[in-house]
Symmetry: none
Subunit: 195 residues, 2 copies
DNA sequence: TCTCCTATCTATAAATG
DNA sequence: TCATTTATAGATAGGAG
């Protein structure tokens, strides 16, 4: 592409590197968006430029964290399969111990559910605030990516509807190396009950 | 590209959709690789096809989780920069509520930490109980429930996930810095139901 | 499915405003 | 610095085996 072939190696000139990063990033994001639409796929992309700025893409109806969770789950599944094949010998556990475990986890999830519900209202406000912010950006004539799923921290992109990221970001701020709270829905707690 | 322009909308024919997914995925992954080299960038890509198979790309010297962690930290940091800009355009009541949210989430995560610590003890027991459970299942002549609809466990491809929920308990154990309570609950729901 | 082919379409490097 | 233009390299849709 472009006026002449280029070798795929680090661009030493910082300006050219940044320009190329920006152009190619846009291209990849566009391709990702097309892929999600054409092929009904879920795609999550995180990029950090050499200057440390980040950009993301995420298919609609989810967020980066959701896809990452799904990915971890898939990885976890493969790991477990390998684990089984290795035929690791495990100790057994008394049934009443299992029941005790179940009750503890259930209680923990109930407690979590209360907390989650309590903060849910605020999360929505944050999201709506961001949308207001984005709209303001538009009104001020700042450039905007046309499609869904983009977030960047340069002020040039924007959030589109459907991304649940703002709420998650709040949680991440408090504990950067943060536990995976995302999918811990209370509904799951009910299913924990032993028969 | 190719023999004629195509409209960017879902490809209804499943075969064509899969073929296009495969081709375009390859293209995007290649572009991502070039970007990391040319521009010294960090890139992480996770894709799930409509059939549930997943593929990933990640720049060298790190892994998906590493980039995701960096991303979480980055959005955590940038949120408050954005927040302050946004605050100028929000009324004070809204802003007070946003502050309230911070405190709520903070409290929630502290609570979560306590809960996590409390349940940490049980994680090993969950794992250790699995073998006993499998044995019991066999004795009772029960079939294992398929846990995830998206998983393609027909064997073959290296990245395809498989098997059921217990994997999450394993993932939970091997990734203590990122406990996955969602998966844990889910796993417990389906695999600890002994009675 | 899978690979190869290739006419066409798209992305983009470099130039330009 | 930016956006825009333009000439080319690269990606790929559709078809064949």
């Amino acid at each position: 592409m472009g006026r002449g072939k280029i070798e795929i190696k680090r661009i030493e000139n910082a300006t050219n590197r940044q320009v190329t990063y920006s152009k190619r990033r846009t291209g990849i994001m566009k391709k990702a968006r097309e892929l999600t639409v054409l092929c009904d796929a879920q795609v999550a992309i995180i990029m950090f430029s050499s200057t440390g700025k980040y950009h993301e893409f995420c298919s609609p109806s989810t967020d980066i964290k959701g896809i990452f969770d799904r990915y971890q789950q898939a990885i976890g599944n493969s790991l477990w399969v390998e684990q089984q094949r290795m035929g690791e010998d495990l100790d057994s556990l008394e049934f009443d111990e299992l029941r005790g475990l179940e009750q503890n986890v259930d209680a923990a999830l109930k407690e979590y559910h209360v907390i989650t519900t309590q903060t849910e209202t605020y999360k929505k406000k944050v999201k709506h605030s961001y949308e207001a912010y984005k709209n303001l950006q538009q009104e001020l004539g700042l450039r905007e990516e046309p499609a869904f799923g983009f977030v960047d921290n340069t002020g040039g992109g924007g959030w589109d509807g459907g991304a649940g990221a703002p709420a998650d970001m709040y949680a991440f701020r408090v504990v950067p190396s943060q536990p995976n709270l995302h999918g811990m829905a209370y509904g799951a707690a009910h299913d924990l009950r032993l028969g």
